[in-house]
């Protein structure tokens, strides 16, 4: 195993553990904090893929801004372990069954796809995640989808302001 592989498996294990802790934690605040760690692990993966710009933007936008808002809302609502609605055992059981079947289905699908056969992840290669190639690609090849999605964001913002004014 070389350094890259060790880092890859360590980061993956970290991400999976943190993601399970998001689900297991009873306290919503703890869940959010674990989720922040998941984002850090994913940023680590981006760095392994030589996409430093994506890595840091992932931290700024998700871990730095959106998760702060999550924490903010949960703290404002003052959700506690004690007053969280308790689900019935049957509901829990059905939930586990449904989720488990979905997971099995997804894994089976990924295993069957012919496009992924014999392919390896390109580590520490490629330049699309760096800022200059990414900017060029976004503003030349993908300029229409990029602008349309920015209009979508703008309309969401205007909508939020209008709802807030009511």
């Amino acid at each position: 195993m070389n350094t890259l592989e060790i880092l890859f498996y360590a980061l993956s294990a970290f991400a999976v553990i943190c993601a399970s802790m998001v689900l297991i934690s009873k306290n919503p605040i703890h869940s959010v904090l674990w989720l922040i760690l998941v984002f850090f692990a994913i940023s680590g993966h981006y760095i392994l893929l030589n996409a430093q710009f994506l890595a840091i933007v992932n931290i700024i936008v998700y871990a730095g801004a959106i998760m702060v808002l999550f924490l903010f809302v949960i703290m404002l609502m003052n959700v506690k372990k004690d007053n969280e609605p308790q689900k019935k055992l049957l509901t829990k059981f059905i939930g586990v069954l449904a989720g488990g079947s979905l997971l099995t289905l997804l894994i089976a699908l990924v295993k069957q796809t012919s496009q992924l056969e014999g392919k390896q992840v390109l580590m520490k290669e490629g330049t699309i995640g760096l800022i200059h190639p990414l900017g060029k690609a976004l503003f030349t090849d993908y300029v229409l989808p990029f602008e349309i999605s920015s209009v979508l964001f703008l309309s969401a913002m205007v909508g939020a302001v209008i709802i807030g004014k009511k």
């Binding site: 070389n2 350094t3 710009f53 702060v68 808002l69 924490l71 903010f72």
Partner: protein
């Protein structure tokens, strides 16, 4: 010898540099607290700390000793791990910024060419921005884990303040990046060393916005609403004692040093000494002069922070939000449009 295909000498070099930068920041922060009390004393026409040692110079050591000796209290109803994590996070986030600041040009020691920067990543500014946005977690987690209404309220205030001012800060940065064309702090400083003018000449409005938002991000008066003592008792660190409280207080001073270093590097030429040709002296001496220049710039910025703190009273909460959303963000957008128009006209 190599460990995991990394050069051992390189690792040792970086570890030494990290140790120097971290301990130097802590030492400067220690004496910044002393400086703050002295500046406050001068502005308020009183002598200030003068008993411990000559001119009261040992006062910070006495303060530190007092903090360490205090009893460590964790409230019964507090969430224990998060209560401990809070001050640690605040301190880590404020120290992490120093990784991308170029402290000087390169020196040659023991046959090695050493760049006086811990990591020259090509997204340096975004890294700083990411660490700044992490800084608020220390306050939020600490405030929430204390299980105290005042602490929680102060944590919420800190979060909303940080989010509001981060936006204007990012917009001011974008205008600067449009003129420099690079995200690496080293490149930005080198451009100013080579070029005729510092970036503040091209971006005066951007600098003003960045300075005000940096003050807000550091929770300095007039933006210190998260710890407004006459409304919230003591703010988010009310339940803290001993060195955990010390960490929160210290993190504020380290934040101040780091944001001064960032402002000096981005807008005021970093380690560039004006009207001085670095090529006329030996590279090592030029590098030392550069480090000294940067330190002087940092001290001047810190003095400016203190001067403002002891001159201007605290904002009201609605004034703070109004300033952030209705003045800073439109101004920053205008600055961005203006910069873009000038760049287009020059093409």
């Amino acid at each position: 010898m190599t460990i995991l295909s990394l050069d051992l000498g390189f690792i040792i070099e970086k570890l030494i540099m990290i140790a120097i930068v971290v301990f130097a920041s802590l030492g400067i922060a220690l004496y910044t607290t002393f400086g703050e009390r002295k500046v406050a004393a001068i502005l308020q026409d009183r002598p200030g700390p003068s008993r411990a040692g000559p001119f009261g110079l040992l006062q910070p050591l006495a303060d530190g000793l007092k903090l360490i000796m205090k009893e460590e209290i964790i409230p019964n109803a507090a969430s224990k791990w998060l209560f401990i994590l809070g001050p640690g996070l605040a301190m880590t986030a404020s120290l992490m910024t120093c990784a991308v600041i170029p402290w000087g040009s390169a020196v040659d020691v023991f046959g090695r060419h050493v760049e006086l920067q811990i990591a020259d990543v090509n997204i340096g500014i975004l890294y700083v921005f990411a660490v700044v946005s992490m800084g608020v977690y220390g306050i939020m987690i600490g405030g929430w884990a204390s299980n105290n209404k005042f602490s929680l309220m102060s944590a919420l205030r800190a979060a909303s303040q940080a989010i509001s001012y981060e936006l204007a800060m990012g917009l001011a940065l974008i205008a600067l990046l449009m003129t420099t064309g690079s995200l690496s702090l080293k490149t930005i400083v080198e451009q100013q060393v080579q070029g005729n003018y510092w970036n503040v000449v091209y971006q005066p409005l951007g600098f003003l916005i960045f300075f005000i938002t940096a003050m807000a991000e550091c929770n300095r008066t007039p933006f210190d609403l998260p710890e407004a003592e006459n409304e919230l008792n003591f703010g988010y660190h009310q339940e803290y004692s001993s060195m955990k409280l010390g960490f929160y207080l210290f993190a504020e001073y380290i934040n101040m040093i780091m944001s001064s270093a960032i402002m000096a590097s981005m807008y005021f030429g970093g380690y560039d000494l004006p009207f001085f040709n670095e090529a006329s002296v030996a590279p090592n001496i030029a590098a030392l002069i550069g480090v000294g220049t940067l330190l002087i710039k940092i001290v001047l910025f810190i003095f400016l922070f203190m001067w403002i703190r002891w001159t201007i009273p605290r904002f009201r909460y609605d004034q703070l939000m109004g300033l952030g959303w209705k003045t800073m963000i439109p101004l920053a957008l205008f600055n961005m449009l203006l910069t873009g128009a000038v760049i287009l006209a020059k093409l």
